[in-house]
């Protein structure tokens, strides 16, 4: 199993009130799966993704990535996991505005201590694979939304992570670009990448092999799709 989640819980305390953003959630994800996560706004989708992406730490429960308990890791170890094992694609792209597409893709490789020449080769190859070879030297503000998200996907993939997490990656894209990006993501999955994707739209959710639905921080449905 690539991912084992047991009783994972995240509780926020706001003033005197407790918000159970994630409430004792358990599930597994195998290698090569394509899982979509759905649910109403505020149901805990992003909270779950942030925990899976090691951007946040759970209040309770265990999270095993490749049989290793991530919840017990320190800051430094988590940074390494984020760098090598996880590629995160955000709804708001989260590219660095001062850097060109190429240098944005390069960032994870820098922290992975890949030599400069190799880094630039790998980044350019990845941008080309995303159909962004022509735009390598453009800054994010010189790119369209769909192009920015492709750069972000290239950045997520460049370290060949075990897991790709995408939190509403199509949320800021029009329908045509959404379809193009989804085609790209399915292609990645066909090539063997494990993908977990959050979406509001049932059409998109149904493109995955499996859909987990959340409500008030709990899993209310976990179904497989047959295509």
């Amino acid at each position: 199993m690539l991912i084992q989640v047991e009783e994972l819980t995240k509780t926020y305390v706001v003033g005197t009130e407790e918000v159970h953003a994630l409430d004792h959630v358990s599930f597994n994800v195998g290698e090569g799966e394509f899982v979509s996560i759905m649910g109403a706004s505020g149901s805990g989708k992003s909270t779950l993704m942030n925990l899976l992406g090691c951007l946040d730490t759970p209040t309770e429960g265990r999270y095993l990535l490749k049989e290793t308990d991530v919840s017990k890791m320190n800051d430094e170890e988590l940074a390494v996991v984020r760098n090598r094992e996880i590629g995160f694609v955000f709804q708001v792209f989260n590219l660095l505005p001062g850097l060109t597409a190429l240098h944005n893709v390069e960032v994870p490789l820098i922290y992975n201590r890949v030599p400069r020449k190799k880094r630039l080769e790998m980044s350019l190859a990845m941008l080309k694979a995303m159909g962004m070879g022509e735009r390598a030297h453009h800054r994010p503000n010189q790119l369209s939304g769909g192009q920015r998200q492709r750069v972000a996907v290239a950045r997520a993939l460049v370290n060949s992570p075990s897991l790709i997490l995408a939190d509403e990656p199509t949320g800021n894209l029009d329908s045509k670009t959404t379809l193009e990006l989804m085609e790209l993501i399915r292609e990645l999955n066909r090539k063997g990448n494990t993908i977990i994707l959050v979406t509001h739209e049932p059409d998109i959710g149904a493109m995955a092999n499996r859909t987990i639905t959340l409500k008030d921080g709990k899993i209310i449905e976990d179904i497989n799709h047959v295509h």
Partner: protein, 405 residues
């Protein structure tokens, strides 16, 4: 990683040119003023040092001297040196050559209705060789002038000019303390120091000076002589001290009432003064650098807040605390280092410019240590005031940083 961080820092500095400039302005001004001041002071010192060195290193001078406890004490026991002291030294110590006792006083000189205060040296014919300053027109004082207590005078050029004595003053006479003296020679120019002319002086025979000033002159006496053999310098110094103590009847438990110094001593005490002055100036400038450092810290803190999002993104793709810490620290240091570098160049330029613009100022001299110090200071300030903002950036939690609006 280090090089990446420097490139990152440069990138960030260049993309915010104006702000980077303003941020580092404090450091820039601080370093520039250190370098300017040090260059000017060192220029002065270099020129003084050169003047001292010119005199030669085998000269010993002796002057009356005491550790003053109080003014009354001083007035009651004013130390003096006499001509007999000088004679005895010359006769008792074989290595002494060119012995020239001298007294100096300030007095009024008058000529053609003009008056002026000037230094009067009661000098010896050896004065020229010992001081390395020679007569330019006419002749110098001779042994006969001294023997016959002649009322003759050799003038420094400043007096000739300011008293309007004309093209060829030799043969004319001037009044010193209302006594007429015949002008027999003109000294070569010594130049000026800090705009202060060094040529406002008059040399008269030592014997005539003693006639005029009487015993009081002994308090302002100087004995200078050459030691033929350099190796004997310390030996001669000790012999002089022993003889003078005996002659002045100083008990063993009392200090000397004179001071014997060689050129080396003068250079040494001079460089001590140099160092003290330099240290004081550096202290003052250090404060301004500190202010510059606080400026850097302030802007770096703003930068960290502004770039919280960037920090979040970097952490999300695998930056460790250490990565972020060194990125921001290196940025602060790069900024202050650049400020320091520009400051050094500016300081050298300003030092030279100032030395040119101020009349009679010796050329500026920027020592290498000042440049290293400038770099060291600015880098140190960068580290000192960069650590806190960088630490703040590094400690951010990735998800909180990403959510930052």
């Amino acid at each position: 990683m280090f090089i990446e961080n420097i490139l990152l820092a440069l990138n960030s500095i260049i993309s915010n040119k104006m702000r980077s400039f303003l941020t580092t302005l404090g450091i820039l001004i601080g370093v520039a003023s250190i370098i300017t001041v040090v260059a000017l002071i060192q220029g002065i010192f270099a020129s003084i040092d050169q003047q001292i060195q010119q005199l030669g290193s085998n000269i010993i001078s002796i002057e009356p001297h005491m550790e003053v406890q109080s003014f009354a004490d001083y007035m009651n026991n004013r130390p003096e040196l006499t001509l007999t002291d000088a004679d005895v030294l010359k006769r008792s110590i074989p290595g002494i050559t060119d012995l020239a006792p001298m007294i100096f006083q300030t007095s009024q000189v008058k000529s053609g209705g003009k008056t002026r205060n000037t230094f009067i040296y009661g000098a010896h014919p050896q004065y020229q060789d010992i001081n390395g300053q020679y007569v330019e027109q006419g002749r110098f004082l001779t042994d006969l002038d001294l023997e016959y207590h002649r009322k003759v005078v050799v003038l420094g050029q400043e007096i000739v000019n300011s008293m309007k004595l004309g093209e060829n003053p030799i043969g004319k006479s001037i009044l010193i303390r209302n006594v007429p003296f015949k002008i027999i020679g003109l000294m070569e120019k010594r130049g000026s120091f800090f705009g202060q002319s060094q040529d406002n002086y008059a040399l008269i025979p030592l014997t005539s000076a003693l006639d005029m000033y009487g015993r009081i002159a002994g308090h302002f006496a100087y004995i200078q002589f050459r030691v033929a053999d350099m190796k004997q310098l310390n030996n001669v110094k000790q012999q002089c001290a022993a003889i003078l103590r005996r002659r002045h009847k100083i008990p063993d438990n009392k200090p000397d009432d004179f001071k014997i110094s060689t050129q080396e001593d003068i250079v040494e005490s001079f460089s001590k003064t140099t160092n003290v002055i330099t240290a004081i100036v550096m202290g003052i400038v250090g404060i301004s650098l500190l202010v510059g450092g606080i400026g850097i810290m302030n802007i770096m803190l703003v930068t960290v807040t502004e770039r919280t999002r960037e920090i979040g993104i970097r952490k999300a793709v695998g930056a460790t605390r250490k990565n972020i810490l060194s990125q921001f620290l290196i940025e602060a240091v790069t900024l202050s280092f650049l400020g320091g570098a520009i400051g050094i160049l500016l300081g050298i330029a300003l030092g030279n410019l100032a030395a040119h613009m101020i009349p009679h100022f010796p050329p500026a001299h920027t020592p290498l240590w000042a440049i290293f110090l400038g770099f060291g200071f600015s880098t140190g300030i960068g580290i000192l005031f960069g650590v806190y903002p960088a630490g703040k950036a590094a400690a951010l939690n990735p998800i909180d940083a990403l959510r930052h609006e």
